[in-house]
Amino acid sequence: MKLLSKRNGYFLFAILATAFFYSKDGDITTSVYATGAAFALPLALAAMVGIMCERTGIVNIGIEGTMLLSAFVAFFVSSLTQNIIIGLICAVFTGSMMGLILAVMAVSWRMDQIIAGTILNILATGLTSFLYVQGKTIPSVFQAIEVPVLSKIPFFGPVLFIHGALTFIGIAIILALYVAIYHTSWGLRSRAVGEHPSSADTAGVSVARLRYINVTIAGGIGALAGAYLSLELVGSFERGFTAGKGFTALALMIFGRWNPLGALAAALFFGLAQAYANQLMIDQVVNIPTQFTAILPYVMTIVVLTISAGKVRPPAAEGQPYEKGQA
């Protein structure tokens, strides 16, 4: 890898910019970055769902629905049992089932994958708003944990080491997924299935089985993103709770080029942009109309992508059902 690569250039720029802001006002910068991380986490986790599915050749646009239904289950089961752990488990189960359903539709039924995902989305919207009841509460949320010693480090402590349990689990999953995709035989096989299923098949990999497993696990990760929203961040559930995060995550997945760390970086960039947009309003430095601060992250994403151009290439066999004997 070249030392002067474009990517390292971005990193350097990000570090310098952070240092500059931090030197101007440490506390505010820390708060903005911590907020940016909080905005980013559900997006990054949701992007992982997309990455896991697409790496094996399954397009999942049902992330939004998976998150929504899981957040719903997480909250209402927690409320019913008065136990957030049971709620979390049921949510992960629900998400995995959504993944499994997607796999059945996409792999066994060889259905159109965009349709399959769309079905999950509208099904989740319909079910959650139809079955929603108000006035329920959960005993507590996943409270913020301060990691001993590490949380005391200036800047990095509050940004990285004071979070609820689900955040830590989420970060662990993202890092683990990165390692797994690029450094394990599972990852190699998954990528092979996503790029060239017939060769993988010839080499003895069961395409269908691997796709089933990955899409199901991915559903569980999506559930975690949903449960994070209802059990850790907000502590309640409302209709339309996920507010389009599953779709934004798809964009971040592509932005991050189907690489878990890339998607994480994209999500952090996006989250930070939102946190800065808020900060502009809090500080009332300039009176920018809310509409413009709101679209800032989206405009920045397009501009950055346009400048960095580089053809983004999805896994080759994506979206295609696999049949044995296919070229």
Binding site: D27, A38, Q134, R239, G240, N278, M281
Partner: protein, 344 residues
Amino acid sequence: MIKRISAVTAALALATVGFIVPAQAATTEADCGTAGAFCVGLVTDLGKVDDKSFNQSAWEGAKAGAAKAGGFAKYIETTDSKDYAKNMALFADKGYNVIVTVGFLMGDATAAAAVKYPKIKFIGVDQFNASTATNNTGLIFDEDKAGFLAGYLAAYLTKTNKVGAVFGMKEVLPVRKFGEGYENGIAYGAKERSKKIKSTVVYHAAGDNAFSDPAWGATTANQLLTQGYDIIFGAGGSTGNGALGKVAQKAGAFCIGVDTDQYYTVPEAKACIVTSAEKKLSLGVSTLIAQAKAGTIKGGNFTGQVGLSPFHDLDSKVPAVVKVRLKKVTTGILAGSISTGFKG
């Protein structure tokens, strides 16, 4: 089913409130449109009658008003803002006596319907009524007054001298009235205490989800909390509720609810809700329904009551001297002798 429930609530309301039982039996749905029946229809703005604030309070008011009058109440939830007129017509064609429409966006449609159905009384919640029609009454509120009082209280309760708010869209007038009143109330309190108090209102970006983005509300509230803000006013549907829920997770921080006494409607925020900047929506609606029943409703605009909700669990955290001062300022604000400074 609905019939039975409403009959039961009507009976309960009569029994508990102890009103004089009307001579005829309570109206049921089948009676609507017949002589002597009294039926109230409610059309929500894009939203549900269980939204924990706005539509819900209006619906509760409609139910209570109908029950008191020995009538029947029913709602339709609008899913497309192009259907306002159509949804009102559903009630009108069935001979309902009173139609309550909720939300300022329905103002035009309500005024038009009032012309079309001169015999039906229309109550437009949050709609400033510019028409001279006698069968259309706008129920409006001085949100800036409620916001001012909330801000005044916050100025006395803050320990960090930083007071914030997380709001829905700025473009929605009632929201902005709350916001400006709040900031002016903080400034008023700060001046009394001769302290410098930093105040800020963060508005959600205008858009489809401005009032239904609890995750944004929670994250933004946390951003304020980590910067030392210790009182946060959350207003704007579930976006505001998300902010309240987040503040409740932080020990020692207070939050302020909106529209109704959110101590009851946002139970996850019980730990931090010191008060709510209330618009007595239910009371306003039921009062107007009673007027409609009695035939004394006049058209024009009816200004509903505003004020702060009780302190509930946090009563002990509000010093007695602050309560006294708040009472004085409340009187001044409601009487108009203290200006909220809202310019519009």
